[in-house]
Amino acid sequence: MNKLLACCFLLASGLPVRSAGIAIPIESYKLKNGLRVVLSKDNAVPVVTVYMIYDVGSRAEEKGRTGFAHLFEHMMFEGSANAPKGVHFATVESNGGTLNGSTHPDFTDYFEVLPSNKLATALWLESDRMRSLSINDANLKNQKEAVKQERRLTFDNEAYNTAIVDVWPTLMFRNWQSSHSLIGSYEDLEASSVADVSKFFKTYYAPDNAALVIVGDIQIPDAKKLVETYFADIPSQPLPKHPDLAEPPGFQAIKKVQKDPLARVPGVIVGYPGPRRRSPDYYALYMVDAILTAGDSARIRQDLVKGKQSVIQYQADLGWPFAGSLDYRDPEPYAMFLLHNPNFTGDQIVEQVQEEIAKLQSAPIDAKDLERVRTQVRSLVIQGLQSSLARARALAQYELADGNPELINTELDRAMAVTPAEIQAAAKKYLTADKRVVLEIVPAPAAPSDAAGKKGDQ
């Protein structure tokens, strides 16, 4: 149920919205205990999303505790003082709703989508676990097993995922906070104690380290009253220190080849250290990504999938694989993952990608081409805001990362304003071979079956 890589496979999904025809109404304020609240009313369909975001993710983990943020996220579904184990799921589902939680590099989110008559129910559940989570040995043991099983299912047993989650970060980053495995090792998961869970809860799961976003069929005064009722008396905590994510100087381009017994088709990941979030270069690279990979007329598709017939499938994003442009925080890469025709080598694919980038570096993009890409981006962004959950997620990201949920209505303008010269300059500055990190994933013959099991708990 809970997922680690929620954003992993969305292509160019980020950057909500804009002046052209859309104005998401926003009311935001802060409770006395520091909880940030963002409300957005839309009475078209009787559905409401309650979205709780905490300002802590896998990059805050300590050595010896890889995977802990995700393990903790599982603990949030193990019950609280007034909603014991099972009640959260049962209550939401028996009212026709859906719920989930997911752990990301820099935040953790929890949401309920329900028929709108159940707004109070969702607030009751979210506030109860923020106030009084049930932390005990039995729950921890149970969720260690669930997480280990999730690792087996989603990573150890799936082609490419081990390379993506365990190997790729070690090439892209040198700061341990970013380079360690976010799903964690079996040893570290096993070593986690109830004391670790309690400390993490107290440190990070306080109202002043969180934001609550409600989107959908609500009346603002009623919603405010309910938020006050359920959350106002949860005590704040000293704001936690955030991890130092700075990469040490002396970056070097690197290439590694990884064998994958589960893969049948070769793949290659190409990445480059990216710019700061919301800097001018960030918007320029966002448009570079759209030119290369968004829509059927994208250059990777037209020139490599169709022209050279070398690439079969691809995905790319600012922040790939664990983040997207919306939840991109520094430092993050711009990266692309390509499955390719085995008649080509990984080196050839990398060269072909670099040639596409070289076209953007050598001359400004044609005005007509850029206009088409802008229209495509505008449409993708608007489409991405149709569900109350998607709007809530975007509002939460802007609140947490930028302190300004209103950006949902203006960010697209920044992307639309990027000029051909800026695109050319950003491609030249960031996407060069001497700043390139490459991971080739090569299908290997199936290992003898006893070697495929992972150490630790068999």
């Binding site: 304020y29 329900l114 028929p115 669930a146 829509g295 495509q376």
Partner: protein
């Protein structure tokens, strides 16, 4: 943390008195709100093309579906994957547009355009910014009527589809779904969910043209438009301009689906090195127009429809055997399958199998308690609302109704149908379709690790993974 830019409303909020509240139980809430579907305008062009229009003006977007009764069920026996190939290649070139022009013109309207084939239907899906609706319709009509399947695009499709098929076959869940369909549907047209490599290699323009000319006719199709639409008369005029001259033709009867009688069999698809076993236990089940549909769908959700279901609570949460434990009732126009599905680690295959069979037995032998039934009904009724939030969500629902031949009032009466299901109806449906006596068992995993455990449940046929 970046500095916060505002705290404008903090004072106002602080002024609201917190109400005292009893936190020990879930709050009292009002009744589930009513939702009425936007009016659906339903008509036909003189050439037989069905037209369905639904206004949704929340966002400046339009969504289109052009649905043909021409899914993989219509694949010739020796050409599995033909419908899918036709669907994919429709957008790769027409009499007046190259593939690249189609892509560029689609992106230029902020749109997407793609064909896909399911078991029953082939659907062309498109969307665009609403200001570009006329151009979207022009593109949809062009690919549906004038596709030419250029040789170089066919060659590329074949090459890439073979690679994709290899990637799909690397997934245990794909292998399990494929084998389960084969086992349940026997030699009937629903038995294949994917092409074979051999069939892809043999694919040519003659076969593609033949399929297109046989099945893609206006009188075998329905056009659905949802979004911020222009005035009705103007829109109908645009539709007639694009689709009106499309010639009606005689369409052959759809192939018959006559699956074999269900019987107990255990098939193990060997996947050396697998650390998991993917288990399907199930059988043939009734279609959506059957009176047994709603009782069995309610039963399916009780057994394995989400985190409140028995399989999730017992097999995942209580026993910890699996991360995923659920059940599926996959309905198609002429036949359906029901299956309990779980993916477990090798060491617990035997107890997990026992647990799955016990859950199925329980469903088939004991009436569902009233509270559990009410919960599941609310789950289904609320889930229905949630699916209608986006244009794609609504379009998929309406398109699916067309694919499956459901009555026009299906969506509007869905909730009432769910609420009317009685416990004895669930029991009767479960006795017939969930009792494991005649259920087929399909497992994908490492035979050297799990073969012995499976043999405790009967004779096991071991097959190699394709």
């Amino acid at each position: 943390m970046p500095p916060r830019l505002f705290a404008l409303c903090a004072l106002a909020a602080a002024g609201l008195a917190a109400q005292t509240v009893d936190r020990t139980k879930a709050p009292e809430t009002p009744a589930i709100p009513d939702y009425k579907l936007a009016p659906v305008y339903d008509t036909k062009l003189p050439n037989g093309l069905g037209v369905v229009l639904v206004e949704d003006s929340r966002f400046p977007l339009v969504t289109a579906r052009l649905n043909f009764q021409a899914g993989s069920k219509f694949d010739p026996k020796d050409a599995p994957g033909l419908a899918e190939a036709v669907a994919t290649l429709l957008t790769e070139g027409t009499k007046t547009r190259t593939a690249r022009q189609l892509s560029e013109q689609t992106d230029a309207i902020g749109g997407s355009l793609a064909g896909a084939a399911g078991a029953d239907a082939l659907t062309v899906s498109g969307n665009a910014l609403s200001e570009n609706l006329a151009r979207l319709l022009e593109l949809v009509a062009d690919v549906a009527i004038n596709a030419t399947f250029p040789q170089d695009e066919v060659d590329l499709y074949k090459q890439n589809r073979i690679q994709n098929l290899l990637a799909e076959r690397a997934e245990p869940s794909f292998l399990a779904g494929e084998k389960f369909a084969e086992v349940v549907y026997g030699s009937s047209p629903y038995a294949h969910i994917a092409p074979t490599e051999e069939a892809i290699r043999k694919l040519d323009r003659t076969a593609l043209n033949g399929f297109r000319d046989t099945w893609l006719a206006p009188n075998n199709a329905s056009l659905l438009l949802i979004g911020r639409l222009p005035a009705r008369a103007d829109l109908m005029k645009t539709i007639a301009q694009q689709f009106g001259s499309w010639q009606q033709k005689q369409v052959p009867a759809a192939p018959k689906v006559e699956p074999p009688a269900p019987r107990r069999q255990i098939v193990l698809v060997d996947r050396p090195g697998s650390v998991q076993a993917d288990i399907h236990v199930g059988r043939l089940a009734p279609t959506r127009v059957s009176a047994e549909f709603f009782p069995l769908m309610v039963g399916n959700n009780i057994l394995g429809g989400g985190a409140n279901s028995r399989m999730f609570k017992n097999i995942r949460e209580k026993e910890g055997f699996a991360y995923d434990a659920h059940s599926e009732y996959n309905t198609q126009r002429d036949a359906s399958t029901f299956a309990a599905v779980t993916e477990v680690r090798n060491e617990v295959v035997e107890p997990a199998m026992k647990a799955v069979l016990a859950e199925l037995d329980q469903m088939a032998s004991t009436q569902v308690p009233a509270a559990e039934l009410t919960n599941i009904k609310n789950y289904m009724a609320g889930g229905y609302l949630l699916r209608l939030e986006t244009q794609n969500g609504l379009a998929n629902q309406l398109n699916n109704m067309n694919t499956l031949g459901l009555p026009k009032n299906y969506l509007e009466t869905y909730t009432a149908h769910v609420r009317s299901v009685e416990p004895d109806q669930v029991l009767a449906a479960a006795k017939k379709y969930m009792a494991p006596g005649q259920a087929a068992v399909v497992v994908v995993g490492d035979a050297s690790k799990i073969g012995d455990a499976l043999k405790k449940f009967g004779d096991v046929t071991i097959e190699k993974a394709k």
